[in-house]
């Protein structure tokens, strides 16, 4: 059992008395596209320091959920609270300042810039927004943050490489570094191991475990080994609704979840 | 005092010019719609068509043979250009194809200068005579041009709508990958469309020849207006280009009542800017639901 799974087990047996207030809470989150409900009354509560897995068959609403959290999509109804603050409907850059960061399924890096530049841009977005006249090299703290993020994902030493020249796995890690450099409270990982080989997948799992010590992580994945191994609690979405929630063991033992996956 | 007579005359002029422009714009938008090529050489294909037509007219004395010869010759040129210069660039940065067609444009202009010299060529009207319109003698030829242009565009429309190859072209325009999966030889379709676009440009060059005479630079005005019209009509939208061509030409013609023709061109740009501001997908494109 991972440390986070143990933490999850303890918290749920605690009766909630000593449980910290949730870092992320959604209330009745719904998104309607015409007559279609992509999300329907999703209410989730994520504690600080958790690794929360979000799974569900195709079309369950996982990406839509992430899009709402990061301000890319405006929900039709419901609320999102980050650290008690209502962030529903805020624009993506405001939410980024509120410390939610996301990695994307399709790599979003700047291919023409160096590895360090990619991360530095993210690092300096959090502060120093209006100082246009100071030379960028004078922001030592920004550089430090950028280099720390690169070290976290194992890309230290590749700072001056052109991002386009990295291997696919390294590019996915760069994405995570970019997200980390914004010093988020909540990191949303969207299928981080998609297209990876078994070796690359294991490396990514180790990476996530490492960085999750100081963060809260939401991870959407199709790879069951990854999710079951990393997450303390798992939320299962189906047709836009929460189908089940629990520890990996509970989810694996849930016949409704099995049914949905095998017939989906 | 509303100058009714001038309005009627300018309506006629606008329609005639619009129809010729519509042929040019149709070819341009077909080419863009199917292979994402912005063909800066389109007006120069028109210009070469006019020169070939003038030469053929001189050799045979028949306007109709000249029209056919120009269309076929420039269609073949189009095939050659597409296969050698443009097909290898598929899939690359769009800027490369723009530069390529721009380069082709320069080459074609200089070739025409070298081949035929700087003097203006004449193409005499196939349909002589005028009819009296108010105080003017209005040439029958202009009316005939509009009718022929209409026939060409109508022919194109029917070909696309009902012909088997028309279906191939429309399918490839909508989904190139799926068209290939259905066995449609997409590279051949691309070449054919470029040939058709070139032939249409050449035909409009010959049709327009009697209006102003044939010079190396006659293509540029057409290219410019055709691009404006294609954008205003909605890129890749054939019906839109045709309507936009007539619309813009009419506006220009009416503007020429109050200002000089050289200044009336500004109307086209004004329409372009307004379209980009308020309906950037095209004036005549139905709003997506």
């Amino acid at each position: 059992m991972t440390r986070d799974q143990a933490r999850g087990a303890v918290a749920s047996s605690d009766g909630g008395a000593a449980a910290p207030p949730p870092l992320l809470r959604t209330e009745g989150l719904s998104v309607h596209f015409g007559g279609l409900a992509a999300l329907n009354g999703v209410s989730i509560s994520v504690r600080p320091g958790e690794i929360r897995g979000i799974i569900g068959p195709n079309g369950a609403g996982k990406s839509t959920f992430f899009n709402c959290l990061t301000g890319v999509l405006r929900p039709s109804s419901g609320h999102i609270f980050l650290d008690g603050e209502d962030i529903t409907g805020l624009s993506p850059h405001t939410i980024s300042r509120k410390a939610i960061a996301r990695s994307y399924q399709i790599t979003n890096i700047l291919p023409g810039a160096s590895v360090l530049e990619n991360v530095r841009i993210a690092a300096q977005s959090r502060h120093h927004n209006w100082s246009m006249l100071r030379h960028h090299r004078s922001f030592v703290d920004v550089l430090d943050r950028a280099e720390a993020a690169l070290a976290d994902v194992g890309l230290a030493g590749k700072e001056d490489e052109l991002a386009a020249n990295l291997s696919h796995g390294e590019q996915r890690n760069l994405e995570i570094a970019i997200a980390l450099a914004t010093e988020p409270k909540l990191l949303c990982l969207d299928e981080p191991t998609a297209g990876m080989s078994v070796t690359e997948t294991h490396a990514t799992v180790d990476l996530v475990r490492r960085i999750a010590r100081n963060l809260t992580v939401l991870i959407v994945e199709h790879d069951m080994e990854v999710v079951m191994g990393l997450a303390g609690t798992i939320t299962v979405l189906h047709y836009g609704e929460v189908l089940a929630e629990g520890t990996p063991a509970e989810i694996q033992a849930n016949p409704r979840v099995q049914e949905v996956y095998l017939k989906a | 005092m509303i100058p009714w007579d001038q309005i009627v005359i300018q309506t006629l002029n606008g329609l005639v010019n619009g129809m010729v422009l519509a042929i040019v714009a149709s070819g341009l938008t077909l080419i863009f719609g199917i292979m994402d090529i912005v063909n800066f050489a389109h007006g120069d294909l028109l210009m070469l068509g006019a020169f070939v037509g003038a030469a053929a007219l001189g050799a045979t004395g028949s306007f109709w043979i000249a029209l056919l010869a120009a269309a076929i010759a420039i269609a073949l040129l189009g095939v050659f250009l597409q296969v050698t210069a443009l097909r290898p660039l598929i899939g690359r940065d769009p800027l490369t194809t723009i530069l390529a067609t721009f380069g082709i444009s320069l080459v074609l202009q200089k070739y025409a200068l070298w081949q035929w010299g700087p003097s203006v060529r004449r193409i005499s009207e196939p349909v002589p005579g005028h009819f009296t319109l108010f105080h003017l003698q209005y040439p029958w030829y202009r009316v005939a041009t509009a009718l022929m242009a209409g026939a060409i565009i109508g022919g194109l429309w029917l070909f696309l709508k009902y012909g088997k190859y028309g279906i191939w072209i429309r399918a490839t325009t909508q989904d190139r990958v799926m068209a290939q999966a259905m066995g449609i030889p997409v590279p051949l379709v691309h070449t054919a469309v470029f040939a058709i676009g070139s032939a249409m440009a050449a035909a409009s060059g010959v049709l327009f020849g009697p209006f102003t005479g044939v010079t190396q630079t006659m293509g540029f005005d057409f290219t410019l207006r055709a691009f404006i019209v294609v954008v205003v009509g909605g890129m890749g939208n054939l019906g839109g280009s045709i309507l936009a061509a007539i619309f813009v030409s009419l506006l220009e013609a009416y503007a020429a009542i109050v200002v000089s023709p050289a200044q009336a061109v500004i109307v086209a740009f004004v329409v372009l800017v307004l379209t980009m501001l308020f309906r950037p997908t095209g004036l005549f494109v139905p709003t997506p639901k």
Binding site: H168, Y261, K263 | I167
Partner: protein, 235 residues
């Protein structure tokens, strides 16, 4: 008839297929199961030459497909029904069918026969034959996509998740269609996430995970013992 031998393929820069080996014999229905993202659709695209093959070989009736352009595959007898259906939205139903029916070498009489066959299998298409493809419902579009592939008189149809996004009662219709095609002697490589349908319709099944084939068995074996299915497709 169709053999994939240790095929590697890239999707953009991602190395998605890490050595896929699959075989489909003439007239067989072969199922390809696996969770989302394991590379099932990429496998079909690798056969069609729509993604870059970086290793291994694809052969069809003994002929290596390397360097064969995608539009030549239809003539060889390979038809593709993609996941998103990809019908030509601005063409009518009839025109969609005609893109397949009007191949060089088919006589007009045969073409009429094929169209009639499409309408017999899918009566709704006859009704809607002059309607634009984009106005059809999801289920109708799926039928049109399959009918369109049939017009190529293929030896094998690559069928990518035909039941995705369809209402449950349409799943039965898809099953009927797969059976009918099977009776006609057409081989099918069926990519699906719907396990019961696949086990029922297929002769043999491959299960993929992370870009490779992890298991293969006759469908009868898997119907009897579903433990493997649970392992690779369940939670």
């Amino acid at each position: 008839m169709l053999v994939l031998d240790d095929v590697h393929a890239n999707y953009d820069k991602a190395h998605v297929l890490h050595g896929v080996s699959i075989e489909v014999r003439a007239g067989e229905v072969v199922g390809l199961l696996g969770r989302n993202g394991v590379g099932k659709t990429t496998t079909l695209k690798a056969i069609m030459g729509l993604v870059r093959r970086t290793g291994g070989r694809v052969t069809f009736e003994g002929r290596d497909l390397a360097g064969v352009s995608p539009h030549a595959l239809a003539r060889l007898g390979i038809a593709w029904v993609p996941e998103e259906r990809r019908i030509f939205r601005l063409l009518t139903v009839l025109e969609n069918l005609r893109t397949g029916v009007e191949r060089p070498g088919t006589m007009p009489a045969r073409r009429e026969e094929l169209l009639d066959k499409a309408y017999r299998y899918f009566p709704i298409l006859r009704e809607r034959r002059h309607q634009a493809g984009g106005t059809l419902s999801g289920g109708e579009q799926q039928m049109l996509a399959i009918a369109r592939a049939m017009m190529l008189e293929p030896k094998i149809i690559l069928l990518d998740e035909p039941t995705e996004g369809l209402m449950p009662r349409m799943v039965g219709q898809i099953r009927e269609i797969v059976h009918a095609l099977h009776r006609d002697g057409v081989a099918i490589l069926l990519v699906e996430q719907n396990v019961p349908l696949t086990l029922e319709a297929a002769d043999r099944v491959y299960i993929m995970e992370k870009g490779v084939v992890r298991h293969q068995a006759p469908a009868t074996d898997l119907r009897a013992d579903q433990a493997v299915i649970h392992q690779y497709l369940g939670v």
